[in-house]
Every structure is written in C-alpha cells, then in structure tokens.
Symmetry: C2
Subunit: 335 residues, 2 copies
C-alpha cells in the first residue's frame, strides 16, 4: 500500500467547530481511502466527537492544545498568541513535512500570516494569491486573487495565471487551461495600465502552461468558456462577494415567491425534487475551499460559516491538490 496522504487539520476554527470539523472528517473518510488526519485542538472537546462520529483509530491522531486563535483576532494578534495555538501547530506540522497540506476553517488573516511566517514562497513568485472554485454553466472555474493582494503588478497577475492554471490541472487534470483577465468592457479605454500591460505580455508570447484568452467581463465569468480568471485581490474580492450577494438575493426572492400562496406551496412540494437539484447545483458547500497559492506547501481555507458537508468538500480539495501534485505543477510552470 502507498504511504497515506496526511492532512493537518486545525479543528478549532470557524463557526460550530470542532463539531463540524470532526463530522466533516468522518464524511470525507467514507468517500476516500488511505488518508490520515492530523488533528490539532482541545482533546477534551474532540474526544467525545470522535466517538460520536466513529472515527477509526487508524485514520487520525490528535495533538492536544487548549490555545486557539479567535475569529476576532487580527492576523497580528493571532500570531502573537504564540506557537502553541491549534492553527500555528497545524501549519508547523506542514512546515516540518509531517503533513502534505493544512486546512483551517478559522480566521483567514491569521491563516495567511502564520502560513507566511512558517512556509517558504515558491521561487520566483513574489506574492501569494487566494484562489477558489467558482461554478459555471460548464463546470468549475478557478478565480484568483480573491483578496490576498489589494494592489498587483503585471508580474503578479502573470504569476497568478500560472498558479491558477496549475491548480486547475491539479484539480481537474484536463487539457491546457484557458486563462482570462477580469476587466471592464466599456468604451475603448479598457482597464487600467497594469491590466493592459499584462494583456500585452501574455498576448505577445503564449505561455506553455495555459492558453491566454484575453479579457473577460464579470457577466461572462459563469459562462464556462475559460477555466482560470485572474484579477488583483481587490477586484476579485468585489466580484466574489457581489456574486454571493446576488445569489442570496435571488434565492431569497424565489423562496418568497414560492411560498406566497397555497397553490405556490403545493406546487413547490410537487416540484421539490427539481428545486432540490437546482439548489444542489448552486450549493456553496460544493465548491467550499479556498487555496492559498504561492507558498511551497498547500494551505487550504474552508469557509468559516460552512457546515460539515462543506468542510468535507474542502478536505476533498486538499486530497485532490496533493494527488495532483499542485506544488510541483506550479514549480514546473513557473520556470
């Protein structure tokens, strides 16, 4: 048997942790094999949950600490809590090659800062980027940066294109990914100097690891015609959050409409299966798991407000990234 994949898990971050974390591990372990979960957190809280969700002894270990990073901590105050928080310890185990990836549903800023303090950047990458999966009509896109870097140079955006392509390959293992720069389409003056400069560089000489498709506008992100959408962290975050808000708005209006009369309620019942298919396809838990790219080991952020199903899906992302050799793919592409 191959050596197991080891995932370092900060069990204490995010809403309803460690319950959702342990339940998520239980769910993930049922659909995967040969995974070992290195769990960091408060043993007193963890033990009854491990019993409840029937984790087999062989698939996990616990490193006890009762120190945790709080959701309200700034990145700096989280780091100052010391090297024995569940977050720090889980990242340190990755640094020490005792795990292949780390995952936390906790404080994003703290995860970034403590990862950067402990892990090395991949050579020739200047800034790490936060990337995530985004559903489209044809499957899943990668969008980055989603907020790690407010201001980016052309070099950064080109690095993001390379890293995003490597991530797409690692996750979906298909043909050469198509990459586009998120931009606005109004009038002849499209975008700012940095975007135009990046376009020029990518357009002049095609990069071997992806196919550059030019600009994409926000309304086409979900068409599925490109696989990797690149933006600076400010723009990417605005797009991500606006999509989230729009989706919530529409779903809540739809619920109101369907429950606004007796006939509506009755026919919704008949229609339940179809509506559930619809909801399932849009379920944000399906594409839960943001990936911090640029560090020489994989760091995965699960959404703080997700549940055990969402956490289990981000463990799936960890697994795919490790099996797909993400870091090696990035290193090869960046050369």
């Amino acid at each position: 048997m191959n050596n197991p994949i080891i995932i370092a898990v900060d069990a204490m971050g995010g809403d309803d942790s460690p319950k959702k974390v342990i339940e998520g591990i239980s769910l993930h372990s049922k659909s995967s094999s040969n995974i070992n979960y290195k769990i960091f957190g408060n043993e007193t809280l963890l033990s009854p949950l491990i019993e409840k969700y029937k984790l087999s002894n062989e698939i996990y270990s616990i490193t006890h600490t009762d120190k945790i990073v709080e959701g309200e901590d700034t990145a700096l105050s989280a780091a100052k809590r010391g090297k024995d928080t569940s977050l720090w310890l889980s990242i340190e185990s990755l640094k020490n090659s005792e795990a292949h990836a780390v995952i936390s549903a906790g404080n994003t800023g703290a995860l970034f800062l403590i990862s950067k303090l402990n892990l090395k950047m991949i050579e020739n990458i200047d800034k790490p980027a936060l990337s995530a999966l985004w559903p489209s009509k044809k499957g899943m896109n990668i969008v980055l940066d989603l907020g790690a870097n407010i201001e980016c140079s052309s070099k950064n955006l080109i690095d993001f294109s390379i890293m995003g392509s490597a991530l797409h390959k690692a996750l979906f293992n298909n043909e050469i990914p198509k990459v586009a720069l998120l931009n606005i389409g109004s009038e002849e003056i499209k975008g700012n100097a940095i975007i135009k400069d990046t376009y020029k560089i990518l357009n002049e000489k095609q990069h071997p690891s992806f196919e550059f498709k030019g600009y994409i506008e926000g309304n086409n992100i979900m068409e599925g015609d490109v696989n990797v959408i690149v933006a600076d962290g400010f723009t990417g975050n605005i797009a991500l959050k606006t999509a989230e808000g729009t989706s919530n708005f529409i779903i809540s209006e739809l619920k109101k409409a369907l429950s606004s009369s007796v006939i509506g309620k009755l026919s919704s019942l008949i229609n339940y299966k179809n509506l559930r298919n619809f909801k399932d396809k849009l379920d944000p838990r399906l594409y839960n798991g943001a990936i911090l790219l640029g560090l020489d080991k994989p760091v995965i952020k699960s959404h703080g407000s997700t549940d055990s199903i969402g956490f289990s899906n981000s463990l799936k992302v960890c697994e795919k990234i490790i099996k797909g050799n993400l870091i090696d793919q990035i290193k090869n592409n960046i050369k």
Copy 2:
C-alpha cells in the same frame, strides 16, 4: 396647465430601434400626462411606427435625419460622423434648452462623448459618473460609477456620493439617503489608499445631504440597508457585470431544473403565477435606465438590448428626474 415636460429621444440607437423606442413612448405616454417627446431619427421609418402605436399628434414632434451613430462606432468615430446624427441632434436640443432631458438606447461611449462635447459640467464636479438603479430586498439602490471613470480620486468619490444622493432624492423623494463606499472586508488592510482617504474625509464631517454609513461589501449591496453605493468606475462595472452574470446563471439553472421532468413541467405550470411574480421582481427592464451625472442637464442611457417595456421604464426615469429637479438638487448639495 403647467408647461409640458419635454424629453429629447434619440430613436435610432440600440437593438430593434426605432420600433422599441416608439412602442416604448406609446407605453410611457399611457401612464403619464403632460409629456412631450421630441423624437430624432429617420422619418420614413418612424412614421409607420407612430401610426401603428397610435401616438397622438399633440405629444410628439419628429426631427428628421437619416444619419445615425452605429453600435460599432468608437466614441470618437461617432462624434466624427458630424452634428446631424440623431444622437447629436437630440443632445443638441437639450443643450439649446428645447428639452429637459435626453435619452438614447444607442452607443454608450458616443452618448458620453457627444454629451460632454455639448453640455457643461456642473460647477465643482470634476468628472461625470454613470449611475443606475440596483434592486435590493427593500427597494432600489443607486450604484455609481459604473464605468465612466476607471481611476478616481477621493474628491471624485465624494462628488459621486453627493450626486448619487441627489439622484436618490429626486427619484424616491424620501429621507436623507444613506451612502456607503464599496470595499473589500478581508483583513485589517481594507481597500486602497484612495478609499481609506475618502472614508476618513466623509467620516470626520458628515455631509448635510446624506448620511455616511462607511464601507459596504459586495455581498451586502442587495440587502437594502444603504441607498447609494459609491465606487470607482472600474470596481462598479465589475460589480454590476458580475451581478448580471450571476443572475443569468441562476435563472438559467432554475429553468433547466424546472423543465427537466414531466412532473417538473406540470408543477411549473401550476406555479407559473408565483414564478412570474418572482421573474417580474428581478426583471432588468424594471430598473432600466442609467443616468450620467455631473453634466448640467440630464442624460439617460437606456440599455441597448432592452425592449419597449424597458425603454418605457427609462422614460419614466427621465420623467422622475425632471420632476425631482435632479440637477438643482446636485447643485445645492455640491455647494
């Protein structure tokens, strides 16, 4: 009787014009009174439509021209077509105070440039901004700038706050509008230097014409807790287009889900009225009509791909803006 409101209408711009324009005028005239439509375009095409849609002689006049700005024109090539295109003539009639507002469903860049060439800026406003209505859980927001200015100073963003508030008052005539700056919420470093600077200025001394509510993230635009959302044109355009794409994606997935089985189809029929209510609330034609703010006369852009109902709604926006004394409101607020 009061003097009529006069709207200068470029009848030749956008898809399916002039048909949708004349039909839109017909629809609008049925729900409004004392409006006069000053129509610019090709009389040979317009006359049969005016007959078909039974426009009364008293409510319109036609200024004939067979020269038009094409959708593919750049702003510059549109301006170079000369002063006798339907777009130029309609804007010129506004300039000459022969109308109270101008509307076109044609080329956005051309509308902006030719408006700027003909009309004056309001004193102390440096840059015009494109604003539009955005549906929320509690009604309608104003969002600006949506693409007129890629880079903006703090002064510009403050001007946009003032102009957006005036527009909200002119359209909805309610209490003091609440204004927020569109920003990202990740980590302690929120936004770029310009946004932070704008925040500081607006927060230190409240402006009399609006209540400053700080930052807003993209996922809260549609909550309806603020009335005016301010961004530079790049960010605003990204948000607008991403919301549009997300909405299209969800509606298309919903349609697929509801038509994927016989039971689904049947129950959708029963549910038709409720789903139609839902669709109606989200109908982009309802909030059609972007307003170019900063010029000393009102310039309204109807979406190029809208239909007669959408065009009629943007005529309604024209009417409200004129009745609400938008330009005077802006001038008063800017002092």
